[in-house]
Symmetry: C2
Subunit: 298 residues, 2 copies
């Protein structure tokens, strides 16, 4: 029998990573309601929005309105994505307390997705991290394509390690390792996580799985066995990666929490309320929930 | 890192457990084509049909025609379900080489599903097993509701152990432990399997998960870690349990094989061909495949 962590923190990414990749544009008021419902479920980390240029991602053009509209619950963090100094200034203007920066482990993906080499992308957000640190704002780092890339295929584990270590050295308090195209399997996920954990403390790592091939929960289980205690997921399984074939997006928070409860791991989350929130969100998006736990409960 | 088995045998249950629980009645010729396609994928155990009374399960009234119609490939076993001596005679008449009998770990489920107590159900198929052994026919045993019951809720592990041990003593060469309503989580699955493996050799055990709450692959992974090397699954994830809420049925064989390949475990199965077979079957049923691997590949 394995050694699982006693507690896990879920980083709920539905409102940002999720909605940014949905075709349906959700009204600002509904985004605010979503985030407030999520905090009422007991979630302590809720990614709220992205201060990226509206030209790139029109779904999130209302970042300022969303962030200022949500009820800031005590003890809950509402990180926002920030791609550059302009975005940082907008985020700073609404008094965010946590930001997230992102890059890739795959050079080909970085070029296609953020139009820069990995090193250039890091140089681009290095001043963002420096400013945030000076301003007392926490910084989370995302590394995408950690188990495979739609353009270059295999991504060497050494590349994931190098990028994660760099983000850690630059001051990210937590690095989220993302299987952006949902291609990984449990042993490969463990090998990748173990390699990164050899240079960045496990307590500073999170895992982020998409369920494109149905492997997300098995991958999460395998990573829990190594001691990871932070998991990214999206209520109702919203989102997806526009570069990945197949409709499936983020692993559904409901299904993750159901598994964690069964493993006896504390999350502080009210599952019934989370299921209700996911079903409400699916109705907003006009599609069936991707959470099997929610479907079984409905 | 865990000790997985080097090889796993998949018991493909789509043609029986799957189609029996689908609303659409598949023509006999298509059932035969399905089974022949499955054997061409490299599957070595393909449950073909059930010699149950057509009054109970009209979907499988063509058992004799299906069994006599399929190409019996060398090295492939085609078990058929047999509920009683009448069914056994029909199966024997077409020269089956393997049969399966079934009962439950939950007393309430046995009463509702097979209209008998667990002990009565065992007494009912005891002469079937005796006849099969005298005739040189292998017998597989199914135990359902091993992780929970829709009627009585919790199912004590001791009840699963008792029933599995009984089937083993009666001469079943393999016992398939089924989470019929897809309610289990990995640690509970491990605890149940470990308890049964204390009295029945692990080499005589199989696991059978439904994906009702999305937990099937994680549960399978957890059981692989304990050394189980036989997994029941259904191509395209067909089927379901009429007693379980939510639409989800058997775990999809494609998703299981994808995971096993990623773990470096041999199955002898051609995944591309299996995906094609599942997509063909979904088209026959007029619904989308439940295999995420198939969706990602389509």
């Amino acid at each position: 029998m394995s050694m699982y962590p006693k507690q896990v923190r879920i980083v709920e990414v539905g409102a940002r990573d999720g909605l940014q990749n949905e075709k349906t544009i959700v009204p600002t008021a509904s985004k605010i309601e979503l985030i407030d419902r999520l905090s009422a479920c007991g979630l302590r980390s809720i990614e709220a929005t992205s201060f990226v240029s509206p030209k790139w991602i029109p779904q999130l053009a209302d970042a300022t309105e969303v962030y200022t509209g949500i009820e800031k619950k005590s003890g809950v963090s509402y990180p926002v994505l920030v791609p550059n100094l302009q975005g940082y200034e907008r985020a700073r203007a609404v008094n965010v307390s946590e930001i997230a920066v992102f890059t890739a482990a795959s050079e080909a993906f970085a070029q296609k997705n953020i139009n820069a080499s990995i090193d250039e992308s890091i140089e681009r957000f290095r001043p963002v991290i420096e400013r945030a640190q000076a301003d007392g704002i926490k910084v989370r780092g995302y590394v995408s394509t950690v188990l495979g890339c739609p353009y270059q295929g295999e991504v060497p584990v050494a590349d994931v390690v190098r990028v994660a270590q760099r983000l850690h050295e630059l001051g990210c308090y937590e690095i989220s390792l993302g299987d952006t195209i949902g291609i990984g399997t449990p042993k490969k996920a463990q090998e990748m996580l173990a390699a990164v954990a050899a240079v960045v403390p496990m307590t500073s790592l999170a895992v982020h799985f998409h369920d494109t091939r149905g492997q997300a929960l098995a991958n999460i289980l395998a990573c829990l066995e190594l001691g990871v205690s932070v998991i990214d997921s999206a209520v109702s399984g919203v989102g997806g990666c526009p570069y990945a074939r197949g409709a499936s997006g983020n692993v559904a928070s409901e299904d993750v929490v159901y598994m964690l409860q069964g493993l006896g791991i504390e999350t502080g989350i009210d599952l019934d309320r989370l299921i209700a929130t996911g079903l409400w969100l699916s109705a907003q998006l006009g599609r069936e929930t991707s959470s099997k736990v929610a479907r079984a409960a409905a």
